[in-house]
């Protein structure tokens, strides 16, 4: 799933062609509405469905669903278990499993949290699946953000391919030295440190070398930057961005100020 460009999937859909800031604004607005909008079920469902429709329009729905399921299924099971059985607000019980009683209120709360997380993840995937991290960084710089901050923002996405390759090398090296990473939970937990520690240390060394390489190529030079390829923006996209932000802030205000 990790390509040379992180989890970005190159394409030429309309979504791919949108200015990165338009997609970033959509993600931010959707997350604000999901967690802060009025009508908790409405706010949790609608942004998620819109995000899924957008992903589908770009042919990214299947991969989006696959990523979401992989991330959220274990979390969802845990939430349902904890809140269904142990939530202090449980009063009406819908199911009895041996000595455990499943509470309706806890289950509903868990479902709400799962829906919110799903919506937030779908909205984020609209951005990360269709936007090359470099274009996002460039868009942020062009918007006036300091290059260092823009790089900081984009670097977790930029470094995914490198870290993914490094993890595979470390895993192979440790397995060659007899480390068992398959098997029961305890064995997997034990194997975690020998895998994570070299990754963290080597990543720190890489960061220093990369910083040097960036500096000698004028990353902090005081010149006004120019760009080989200007990102395509348009007045309707600018209007849409302001519109989405206004909608998010308006819905937030409706809930907290005029509620």
């Amino acid at each position: 799933m990790v390509s040379h460009f992180g989890i970005f999937l190159p394409g030429c859909s309309r979504l791919h062609r949108l200015h990165p800031l338009t997609k970033l604004t959509f993600t931010l607005a959707a997350v604000i509405i999901v967690f802060g909008g009025p009508g908790k079920w409405f706010s949790a469902l609608v942004p998620g469905l819109i995000a899924l429709a957008i992903l589908a329009s770009a042919g990214l729905a299947r991969i989006g669903l696959r990523i979401t399921l992989r991330i959220l299924v274990p979390l969802a099971l845990m939430l349902l278990f904890v809140h269904g059985l142990f939530s202090p607000v449980n009063q009406n019980f819908i199911l009895q499993l041996a000595i455990f009683k499943v509470g309706r209120e806890g289950v509903l709360y868990a479902v709400l949290v799962i829906l919110r997380l799903t919506a937030a993840l779908f909205s984020s995937l609209v951005l990360v699946l269709s936007t090359h991290p470099a274009h996002l960084v460039q868009a942020l710089e062009e918007a006036g953000l300091s290059p260092r901050f823009a790089y900081l923002f984009g670097s977790p996405l930029l470094l995914i391919p490198q870290l993914s390759g490094r993890i595979q090398s470390i895993r192979a090296a440790q397995q060659a030295r007899g480390l068992e990473i398959q098997g029961n939970l305890l064995r997997r937990v034990k194997a975690l440190f020998p895998l994570v520690a070299p990754l963290a240390f080597s990543a720190l060394v890489d960061v220093e070398e990369r910083a040097l390489a960036l500096e000698v190529r004028g990353f902090s030079a005081p010149h006004t930057k120019t760009y080989l390829n200007a990102l395509q923006d348009s007045s309707w996209q600018r209007l849409l961005r302001w519109g989405m932000l206004a909608l998010a802030v308006g819905l937030l205000a409706k809930r907290f100020v005029w509620a």
Binding site: A213, R217, L228
Partner: protein, 281 residues
């Protein structure tokens, strides 16, 4: 005129008590290829960082003396001001990719963009740099899809696009296979023919002997030898500090004891010199 002047340069890394480099003093003339030799930990990389202005601007240790590159004192001018005039290529090819660009072509543009080069001038400079390093055909490929040798050539192209007068190479072939190393050496050879000043920290004595105009040997942070390869690489001290001699030099030295090498003939540092010398006998 000297392109680089290093005067009584000493440097201690932050948190260290011992100096990484002590009283280093040398000059490099414009257009020369200057090699820095030394065992691991001798201070080669530190010297390269200082020549690129990264010391003392990014590494805030204790620095004494002066490093002047193209008339710019690195105490006053940092890497931002030196970028475009001085290029630096490091050992690890992958870590030199900005990670911020989609293709090889765009990766080369990264430095030009930082220096504010008008976008209309970029394509020509990018194409020229890619052609120097033989990557013209791979312009549309992702930088991460290249081999180690190709990535190092890309790192070199990214620096060359900035058209620096001085190029500093810190063991550029350390992580490459023989083919990748050969390709890098060929490019460096071309650059010196074009009149660029090249400083290279390198382990491969054979290449240094053939191509360097002058060389500096470091041992535990001190400059112990300096001069032309033919002078330096036949000194017994080189063997004592673990760098050793080339096989040709060693063969001629042993030959001298058995009358297979003329007494008045200097020891060879290249294959050609060795062949000529042995043929004379």
């Amino acid at each position: 005129m000297a392109a680089i002047e290093v005067q009584n340069f000493s440097y201690i890394y932050p948190g260290e008590s011992e100096a990484a480099l002590r009283n280093i003093h040398f000059e490099v003339e414009a257009g020369q290829l200057f090699a820095i030799l030394g065992a691991n930990g001798a201070g080669k990389s530190t010297l390269c960082l200082a020549l690129a202005g990264l010391i003392p601007h990014l590494f805030h240790g204790e620095m004494n003396g002066n490093v002047t590159v193209l008339g710019m004192n690195t105490l006053k001018y940092g890497p931002s001001e030196l970028a475009g005039k001085v290029g630096l290529v490091l050992q690890n090819p992958a870590n030199q990719l900005s990670g911020m660009r989609y293709t090889v072509y765009e990766e080369v543009a990264f430095g030009l963009e930082n220096l504010g080069v008008p976008s209309i001038q970029m394509p020509e400079r990018i194409k020229k740099a890619l052609s120097w390093v033989g990557l013209s055909e791979l312009g549309d490929r992702s930088p991460y899809a290249l081999s180690g040798g190709q990535q190092q050539r890309l790192a070199l192209a990214s620096v060359l696009a900035l058209e620096p007068q001085v190029l500093i190479l810190d063991e550029p072939t350390a992580m490459l296979d023989p083919k990748g190393s050969q390709e890098i050496f060929e490019i460096i050879h071309k650059l010196t023919q074009m009149g660029k000043t090249v400083i290279i920290a390198e382990h491969r004595l054979e290449w240094v002997a053939c191509h360097a105009d002058r060389m500096l040997v470091l041992k535990e942070g001190e400059a112990i030898l300096q001069g032309k390869p033919a002078q330096v690489m036949t000194l017994p001290l080189l063997k004592e500090i673990g760098i050793g001699w080339l096989r040709y030099t060693e063969a001629a030295y042993l030959g001298k004891k058995r009358n297979l090498w003329l007494e008045d003939m200097p020891l060879p540092v290249t294959l050609e010199q060795a062949v000529v010398g042995f043929l004379r006998v």
